[in-house]
């Protein structure tokens, strides 16, 4: 089991945003993932920022790829259509 240290938490706090944005190199990302698994406080911090990212994308209104939405509506119709 990884030994948790305050310096490790500080390191994770510094790179957490880059980790969640997929901007870390694999060795660094692996180190962060291991820490998040072991440290409840940092894991919860990660979940909070992930929820913030999701909320931002939910509430803003950028242009959406209408073709993709149309394909997904067709997919959804395929899910619900045949059974009725």
């Amino acid at each position: 089991m990884m030994r948790l240290t305050r310096s490790e938490c500080h390191h994770v706090a510094r790179v957490l945003q880059a980790y969640l944005d997929g901007e870390l190199e694999p060795p660094s990302a692996r180190r962060v993932a291991e820490h998040l698994e072991a440290c409840r406080r940092c894991g919860l911090e990660a979940s909070t920022y992930l929820a913030i990212k999701t909320a931002i994308a939910t509430t803003a209104s950028p242009p959406v790829d209408e073709d993709a939405v149309t394909r997904l509506r067709t997919f959804a119709a395929g899910l619900s259509g045949p059974s009725r």
Binding site: E37, A55, D65
Partner: protein
């Protein structure tokens, strides 16, 4: 032969799920940064929602669906990129502990308050902070691509992004909406 029923009233899936597809796709694009991956993620989310719709009570469909989408995303990342998020990773475990990944009724209500608070906090940020949030979280640009778009160093994008998210986080703390370790018996 029969006339098709109006879709809005034909099933709970059509009523609650289908109207949210544009939002689901937008969030999926933000999380995956790739249009093809975003479509796959929404398809998986739709399948899970279809299977679970019988147990859905009709309250807060967007929050319910976004919770399914977030959980589906984490599962997909964990399976596809064991280097980045290995099995049993801390984020998923923390989400489960925080209730963020389990779509219980009380959680989706909190999700809606959470979303509103994030939107308010985002609107109150300086323009240059909103700009970088838009490029990275909405348009799905990498840090370098966002830096190129803005004509600033990559480090500037990172610092603005961190500052912006920290401000949003602080706002959530002030409103008591950020998950805390002391909650849920932890």
């Amino acid at each position: 032969m029969s006339q098709p029923a109006p879709r809005a009233s034909s099933s709970p899936f059509d009523e609650y799920v289908v109207p949210e597809i544009p939002v689901l796709y937008r969030v999926a694009l933000s999380l995956t940064r790739h249009s093809a991956d975003a479509e796959d993620l929404v398809q998986d989310t739709l399948i899970r929602a279809y299977r679970a719709i019988g147990r859905f009570d009709g309250a807060h469909p967007r929050a319910w669906l976004l919770t399914i989408l977030r959980r589906t995303h984490l599962n997909r990342v964990r399976v596809r990129s064991p280097v980045l998020l290995k099995d049993g990773d801390g984020v998923t475990a923390a989400l489960d502990r925080a209730g963020v990944a389990s779509p219980a009724a009380e959680d989706v209500v909190v999700d809606e308050l959470f979303d509103d608070a994030v939107a308010d906090a985002l609107a109150s940020l300086p323009q240059k902070h909103r700009e970088v949030i838009r490029l990275v979280d909405l348009d799905g640009l990498s840090y370098q691509d966002a830096a190129d778009r803005l004509g600033v160093p990559r480090g500037t994008v990172m610092s603005r992004l961190h500052r912006a998210r920290r401000r949003i986080r602080e706002r959530l703390d002030e409103e008591g909406l950020a998950p805390r370790l002391t909650e849920r018996g932890m």
